[in-house]
């Protein structure tokens, strides 16, 4: 059983794509069977997991819609002997088998640090964040933490773009009208960055500005690869962690261990590092066939 939030913006769609990708790898393997479900709301996800448990799954790969609400059901799964892999958002309990996640703090922090250094400690910064929720808050706070040592940097606007291109476009259009001088824009993810770039182009202000998104969307990575003038770095928060998680679950069920590990079992906690994508290494992060 694989339970993840529904595709309601680019990154989650990417996660769905990677989940399907990983599942597809096993299509010739008769010993494993997958149930992929997506939810639009925590209680719906709980319902799905209940259904999966009733169905009698052996392993559960869960990207919780939200940590706390999914904790009881995840714990229940674990206690029923289901091999439980928690992805990305953790749960508020230690009762699971494996946890694999991106690093939200560094995701925001590195973006902030990059911008601060590029601006040499002085300038006007705009934040366009995602849907208000806990991981968004964590990232934004980390971003601000990184800017703390630079009193010369001012955050002149902080508005939600709801992880949507159109919304980010609209918000950026408005911000551009209000502020004649903007030195850097950080968007919560690369989808919104596309909207921002469009708004800048439309306003004819697509120069002398530092743009940073995040999560490694393929077109942004391609821009970096091709040496785009405004977008030069990106910070990963890879949706393909779900594929890794699925592989881990299958390996665990089959009793396999990780290559290079002297230990037999699958590691219990894996935090993926936030990697910096630059022109040099971009091609390693470019998955043209992926949807994100």
């Amino acid at each position: 059983g694989v339970a993840i939030p529904a595709a309601d913006h680019g990154w989650t769609a990417g996660m769905v794509w990677w989940a399907k990708y990983a599942i597809n790898q096993y299509k010739d393997d008769p010993s494993v069977e997958f149930y992929l479900v997506t939810a639009k709301e925590p209680s719906e996800q709980i319902a799905q997991i209940q259904a999966l448990l009733a169905k009698g799954i052996d392993a559960l790969v869960l990207n919780p819609y939200e940590s706390a609400p999914l904790t009881p059901i995840a714990v229940k799964a674990f206690r029923e002997g289901v091999y439980t892999v928690i992805v990305d958002r953790g749960i508020n309990s230690e009762e699971y088998n494996t946890y694999i996640a991106g690093d939200n703090y560094m995701y925001g922090y590195l973006a902030g640090k990059y911008i601060a250094e590029k601006l040499e400690g002085k300038g006007n910064v705009v934040i366009i964040e995602g849907i208000p929720c806990s991981i968004n808050t964590e990232r934004v706070n980390a971003f601000k933490d990184a800017l703390k040592p630079y009193p010369g940097i001012k955050i002149i606007a902080q508005q939600p773009g709801y992880w949507s291109r159109e919304k980010a476009f609209e918000v950026m259009q408005n911000i551009l009208t209000k502020f004649p001088k903007i030195d850097a824009v950080w968007t919560g993810d690369d989808d919104m960055l596309h909207g921002v770039i469009l708004a800048l182009k439309q306003a004819g202000r697509d120069k002398d500005i530092i743009l940073v998104g995040g999560a490694g969307e393929k077109n942004i990575v391609k821009m970096i690869m091709e040496g785009h003038s405004l977008v030069q770095v990106d910070f990963t928060y890879p949706p393909n962690m779900i594929a890794t998680a699925i592989n881990l679950a299958v390996m665990a069920l089959k009793g396999e261990s990780l290559n290079g590990f002297y230990q037999k079992g699958i590691p219990r906690k894996i935090i993926l590092s936030t990697e910096t994508i630059t022109k040099e290494n971009a091609k390693d992060y470019y998955y043209p066939e992926s949807v994100f």
Binding site: A7, V16, K20, F34, Y35, L36, V37, T38, K40, E41, P42, S43, E44, I46, A47, Q48, Q50, A51, L52, A54, K55, G56, Y65, E66, S67, A68, P69, L70, T71, P72, N92, I131, P132, C133, S134, N136, T137
Partner: protein, 323 residues
């Protein structure tokens, strides 16, 4: 309904089919699912469906009152988060005791009555369309929940509170029992009390009700109070089951599901028509569809298609059964 008329034409069978069309559609769905996936019919899964349905189902019962009186309530989704969060915060403040849990439930119900009342007054006395007031409410409640938790989660510190929502009584999950009990109570209020009769009358013909010495505004307002209370019950059960409330996502989209359950069950958006019976089974149909999609392992991106087609088909079949 029209006993005399039907007796003469079709027979007993036609009558049953017309009144219980929705039940037959539900049974049909269950049979098909059971054939396609045997584990669908496990007792455990059936209980699960009831359990999962109960949160939206209880809200849908409240929404049915509002809709029969000719109104609409879009605020229930955000409100469930607000009231759930309020209950958790209150328990945390009062402390982990049965008394604390009891007080928190009482306070939450109290708040819900207040909110429902305010909504009703804005609609009837302020003469603002229900759509606008409750759309505003939806935004305002969500904003409040987000603001106090800073976008994060309300966590319950009380074991007593959290265990309540997960508890089983007589081998059945508590929410399921509450759902069934509440539906019965609501059915009686709607069909066997003065107030219930007034709700139908007001929704069907406001002017005639006014001329018939019914306090139309008062009846309308109370339907929103009932909707509020239903949301409170659902919010308490949901937040205690999860031990928490997510300020950003809990309850998202509940309004559409609740209205859909009512409409599938035969409640009219223009008022005057509807039943708790229909809503109850409408909610179950939605629950069965959701469960079935998982059980049959329907491809993620095709689920919407399947769901949409079944919902439309379910109502179409009911129509045909009335012929």
């Amino acid at each position: 309904m029209r006993r005399d008329s039907i007796k003469k034409t079709g027979g007993r069978f036609a009558e049953i089919f017309s009144k219980y069309g929705i039940v037959i559609v539900l049974i049909g769905l269950v049979i098909v699912s059971g054939i396609l996936s045997p584990s669908f019919l496990k007792l455990r899964n059936i209980l699960n469906i009831f359990w999962q349905t109960s949160y939206v189902g209880i809200i849908a019962i409240g929404v049915t009152f509002v809709m029969i009186a000719g109104g609409i309530d879009l605020s229930v989704g955000s409100m469930v988060a607000l009231l759930g969060a309020f209950a958790i915060t209150t328990v945390n403040a009062v402390g982990d005791s049965y008394l604390g849990v009891f007080l928190a439930i009482l306070a939450t119900l109290g708040l819900s009555v207040g909110l429902g009342f305010a909504t009703g007054v804005a609609i009837t006395k302020g003469r603002i369309p229900a759509f606008v007031v409750t759309l505003g409410g939806m935004a305002i409640y969500r904003s409040l929940v987000l603001n106090f938790a800073n976008g994060g989660v309300y966590m319950s510190n009380s074991m007593k509170y959290s265990s309540m929502g997960m508890s089983f009584v007589l081998g059945m999950p508590l929410p399921m029992l509450v759902f069934i009990g509440y539906a019965l109570l609501a059915h009686i209020i709607l069909n066997n009390t003065k107030f219930g009769r007034y709700i139908f009358a007001v929704g069907a013909n406001e002017t005639a009700s006014f001329y018939s010495a019914i306090n139309v505004d008062w009846v309308r307002t109370w339907t929103y109070v009932i909707s509020g209370i239903s949301v409170a019950i659902s919010g308490i059960l949901l937040s205690s089951m999860m031990g928490s409330v997510s300020s950003s996502s809990t309850g998202n989209g509940f309004e559409l599901d609740a209205i859909a359950a009512a409409v599938i069950g035969g409640t009219s958006l223009s008022g005057g028509k509807g039943s708790i019976f229909g809503t109850f089974f409408g909610a179950l149909i939605l629950g069965v569809i959701n469960n079935m999609l998982v059980m049959l392992n329907v491809a993620v991106y095709l689920q919407g298609m399947v769901k949409g087609l079944i919902i439309i088909g379910a109502v179409l079949l009911q129509n045909l059964s009335k012929e």
